[in-house]
Symmetry: C2
Subunit: 688 residues, 2 copies
């Protein structure tokens, strides 16, 4: 019985809707013979009644779904009003939660408990355990039933009173399998590549190491809290160490959607944006895999919950396996899509192209799930691959269409989740509010986030050319909002008391962080003196600029010294990507025939598109700016210093070394100068 | 027991996925106590086993869905190849069916029957009939089961052998509630308004009267066939008159998607296009409502299946009620969306606008279902309303986005249905192939279509200014393809023998008509001498043109005489729409302050947008051309006669009467002249 902890999530996997239709499981046929024979007339009456009931509940379901749609509509209209009036203290997600909350209160207290069915439960005997499909034999007619999941024995007694409340409860797996994928894919697909790749090292450090640190810090602190609660008699139910770690994993997934929206609007520091966005995207993936690894942690001897080295390393193995497998799945389908769009002339038919893109991206999810990996993680890496390669092969029409399609899906899914969260606070049946646990959790996430950001920033700054300054670190600390991912992970399993407490606490954390931290972003930005009103395209200049402004001239030599080492990983990747992957997967140059060794001649000719020969000289590549950036720091800095501290002015008389890649970029750079010169850089606004 | 005919569909309503999550129905708690107590260790093992099983089938489901996605991907790639090489004999839907068929054959014959569960069915006794939710008590743990539907007693014995085949079987309600709505909405949203409204009278006649005629002709003919089969002993199961009528209703829904795609590509006669498209869109709605009315036909005394006047009129009432209710729902949400988009400045945020549009359109479906009407029909009229009003209020960005969004959804849904159809021919478990019935059905649909088109065309030609000529009638007869709607209606209920036979026959009809009639469209067009290569914008000219070319000068006076009467319905609608509805719901028009009586002053001022005053003179309105068209027939004809039989040349020296609405259009017309002059009219191609 002890090993039953954390078993629920997999049983739940049965029940997500799109695949639900396919689920005609291997059947254990349960023949329930009617003890008393009904005559035919009774049967007809019975059937009519059950049909009426079915129709009634179908109607009720439509009403419920309609409620959510009206909630979203209301959110959209209010958000329009807010945007119209430039109100920034409340993001659409925060608003969606408030509306959800209001409807939840109405459903909970406003509507009298109605239950139109109060039949006495009949009983009969059965020798078998839970099966996926059940057949019910009623007077020769067979009815098929599918397993929905285990329900709590407490719930059974509540069922009749809380009809309405149970009705608005979605299957938890909907969030994970229907609503999260478009959100995560969109995040991957819209990563600002240039800034993302430039900060790749730091992002990976925060996302992997940082999330792990945060998870263990929070987990251990919460275990202390749990022990304390057990000591003072506040907690009598079981709450294992793995439950604490699980809680640590799910609240380590940050989702600063509110903060990022404001950054975007105010054009805040692009590197900070890249760090925060990149970290939040990647740590979602890490948190998912981490939480499944913790669930997979199964010490030898089902009844012990002590530390077991074998099980621990097995968990680490599970983590690495799931993560790399999901990554591979995402990358593979991305690459296949890129190849298909490259070698067909599909771009003449944007509709076909968009449909193909959509289907291939969705197939990533299914492929990963079919292979036992995590679909959501695969979808993330698929999105990044699609953005990096396939996007360049699409027709202009399709690039717009795909972006807009996923933008709409993302918007709807995200706001749906947040309004459901609001609703769930009042309609969820098994909340366990424990003040001590909640207070402990708030403290723990604060400490967890701090032990992620500050030590890692210190370590990163040792190697980074553009230091992550103190105010940026504080902002990253502040932007540790929790959102959709934490909720989806928490609601996935609410079978045990520990998990119910976890769910309730997570929900409160999401509310608090989204409203308080989200709403406080603008004041915080100005309090921390973080530059806003920066043109994203001016990042090359900014970096040198910031550096000059805040670090002073004294650190100049250090920068020149470390720039080579700090970028070696990126340089390696960039060269490989630019010389081999991009020419193979897209139409951009240089031709593979020139980069691959001559023994691969036929292969190279086969994969090189005719355009590659033409594109070779006029390479238009986002990443190329990074190489340029690395080599030109001195120039940029010099230019900036000639322009002084004025953010708007910088010299265009930079001298450049004449390496091959840079020559190709010179033209592009000049164009950028021209386009930049027309843009204004806003002064820092005072948001007091 | 007799009344059990046609009961299944409503029970099926339980099971469509998006709302499935909400379905925690009022519960009849069924406590099944385990007779033999298991110890805790056994429980854990059992749980582990059932979990493993769950995971295994989740994986299997992903594989199955993946199969469909790969099928669609393959279809897209092949279609691209076909379009690239200008192959026209096979449309994407036909191709999707072929691929589906191939996969169906592989699943059926290529994969050895695997069934990894062969447990002996335990039995126990129960006093109650089918309930929507079942609770299973296994050693203190409760498991929740939802009713999936009645299954045939024959199926139970097949279950273990046909695991794989059952797995790829979707819930029938998916088609009706998930896949059809985007298809139908897109049809409504993309109706070519000008040609649609000009032929409104004819379209309504064909769609309502024609579909009813077709339904009854086919129903009666099939009843004869059934009687014959019973007479010669080929049919021993029950097959009622209502089953025949039901069959008539579902195969009366035409879906000439293949034909219309070719028309679009070849720029065939626009009026023919409008008639066919309009008819097919509207008769889908009619067929749905007709079939539910037939199901609702319930003679007094459940065991008699004779004609009952009361029940008949009740059915007619049901038809009218559902139809007008659904129409009203669709129109209302369309109008609300139009008002919202008019009075907010949402068009500054295309994402919000698109999301709102999507949500409002979806809410139509739910609203109609919640009120007991038919969602699909409501969605159609919502689409038409959105296209007519809301579309004009959207930002340019959003008009593109919404069109493209629904285009992609429509494309995916349609091809999914067709590939599923191919698959279903081999994987569906309960096919009833009856050669006599099938042969009879093919004859019946031919006669049914003929008795729809020819008599109604004759009647319509009495009143129509632009006659529907013989060759157009033949083409309409030929274009009577059956598609997604017929399939979705047929698969909705396959509980009885009669319905299984209906389903099999419908499937074969769809296959035959899509492949043979669809493939034969291009030869048929040239064989019937139907003009192709017509610029859709040149319709004004064409009509006069066609008329001169084919009818001769002798009928001229008749045209001038009938034009007033024939258009009175349209004129009435146009005036009302132009003067009141458009100004109220969009930014166009004469200001309401000038059209409404002075007593409504405040209301008028409230609803009139500032732009209306400006737009008054520069009205840009699709329909306006129709009024012009009506009044200018003589001029157009004169112009055309001066240009002779040459399709490209027509006089621009037309004299116009100076009515108020026309003055406003003069400028627009001149612009059209200019734009037209640059376009070429292609000669009729020879597709031999």
């Amino acid at each position: 019985m002890d090993a039953a902890v954390a078993k629920k999530p997999k049983l739940c996997r049965f029940f997500f809707p799109l695949e639900k239709q396919l689920m005609l499981f291997p059947i254990l046929i349960l023949l329930i013979n009617q003890a008393s024979k009904m005559n035919a007339e009774d049967g007809v009456m019975e059937e009519l009644a059950s049909e009426k009931e079915a129709e009634e509940s179908h109607r009720q379901d439509s009403v419920n779904l309609l409620t959510f749609i009206l909630l979203l509509t209301l959110t959209i209209l209010t958000i329009w009003l807010f945007k119209h009036r430039r109100v920034r203290f409340l993001h659409e997600t925060g608003l969606a939660m408030i509306y959800g909350l209001l409807v939840g209160v109405i459903l909970r207290y406003g509507i009298p408990a109605t239950s139109y069915h109060k039949k006495t439960p009949p009983s009969c005997s059965l020798e078998e355990g839970p099966v996926s499909t059940l057949l019910l034999n009623v007077s020769g007619k067979f009815f098929e039933y599918t397993l929905k999941g285990e329900i709590n024995s407490r719930e059974i007694h509540n069922v009749e009173q809380n009809d309405m409340l149970r009705k608005v409860t979605f299957d938890p797996e909907v969030f994970f399998n229907i609503l999260l994928p478009p959100i995560i894919f969109h995040a991957g697909y819209s990563l600002k590549k240039r800034h993302f790749f430039r900060n790749l090292g730091s992002i990976i450090t925060y996302a992997f190491l940082g999330t792990a640190i945060s998870c263990f810090v929070i987990g251990n602190l919460m275990y202390g809290v749990v022990k304390l609660m057990q000591f003072i008699g506040q907690l009598t139910n079981k709450f294992y160490y793995t439950d604490c770690l699980f809680f640590g994993a799910i609240v380590s997934a940050t989702d600063p959607v509110t903060v990022l929206a404001i950054f975007n609007e105010l054009h805040a520091d692009v590197d900070l944006y890249a760090l925060l966005f990149g970290e939040s995207v990647m740590n979602d993936a890490v948190a998912i895999v981490l939480s499944s690894s913790i669930v997979a942690y199964q010490p030898a001897g089902a009844s012990t919950h002590t530390f077991d080295a074998t099980a621990f390393f097995k968990s680490v193995g599970v983590f690495l396996g799931i993560f790399s497998g999901s990554f591979a799945m995402g990358a593979i389908t991305g690459v296949v899509t890129a190849l298909v769009t490259k070698f067909t002339k599909l771009h003449c038919f944007p509709l076909l192209e968009t449909a193909l893109f959509f289907l291939m991206s969705w197939s990533t999810f299914l492929l990963a799930e079919a292979c036992g990996f995590t679909g959501v993680v695969a979808v993330l890496f698929c999105g990044i691959t699609q953005a990096h390669y396939t996007y360049n092969n699409l027709s202009e029409e399709s690039t717009k269409r795909t972006k807009q399609l996923f933008e709409v899906l993302h918007f709807l899914a995200e706001n749906f989740i947040f309004s459901y969260m609001g609703l769930a606070l009042f309609t969820f049946q098994n909340h366990v509010f424990s003040p001590i646990f909640i207070a402990g959790a708030f403290l723990a996430i604060f400490i967890g986030r701090a032990s992620n950001i500050y030590p890692l920033s210190f370590l990163l700054n040792l190697g980074r050319r553009h230091k992550i300054r103190g105010n940026l670190q504080h902002m990253m600390m502040f932007a540790g909002l929790r959102g959709a991912m934490a909720f989806a992970l928490a609601i996935r399993d609410t079978a045990t008391y520990a998990r119910q407490m976890t769910f309730t606490t997570t929900l409160l954390i999401v509310f608090f962080t989204v409203w308080v931290f989200g709403g406080g972003t603008t004041p915080m930005l100005s309090w921390l003196h973080i530059r806003v009103g920066v043109d994203p395209d001016q990042d090359l200049q900014q970096c040198g600029d910031n550096f000059l402004l805040f670090q002073g001239d004294g650190t100049m030599p250090e920068v020149s010294k470390t720039k080579q080492e700090s970028a070696w990983l990126f340089r390696l990747w960039y060269t490989f990507d630019h010389n081999y992957l991009k020419p193979m997967l897209t139409h951009s140059g240089p031709p593979l025939t020139t980069t691959l060794p001559s023994c691969c001649g036929p292969l190279a000719r086969c994969f090189t598109s005719p355009q590659a020969y033409e594109n070779h000289e006029q390479l238009r590549d986002d990443d190329s700016a990074l190489i340029l950036d690395d080599d030109d720091t001195a120039i940029t800095a010099k230019g900036a210093s000639s322009g002084g501290a004025d953010a708007g002015g910088w010299g265009v008389n930079g001298k450049r070394s004449s390496s091959t890649t840079e020559e190709a970029l010179e033209r592009e750079m000049d164009q950028e100068f021209l386009s930049r010169s027309t843009r204004l850089v806003f002064p820092i606004e005072d948001h007091a």
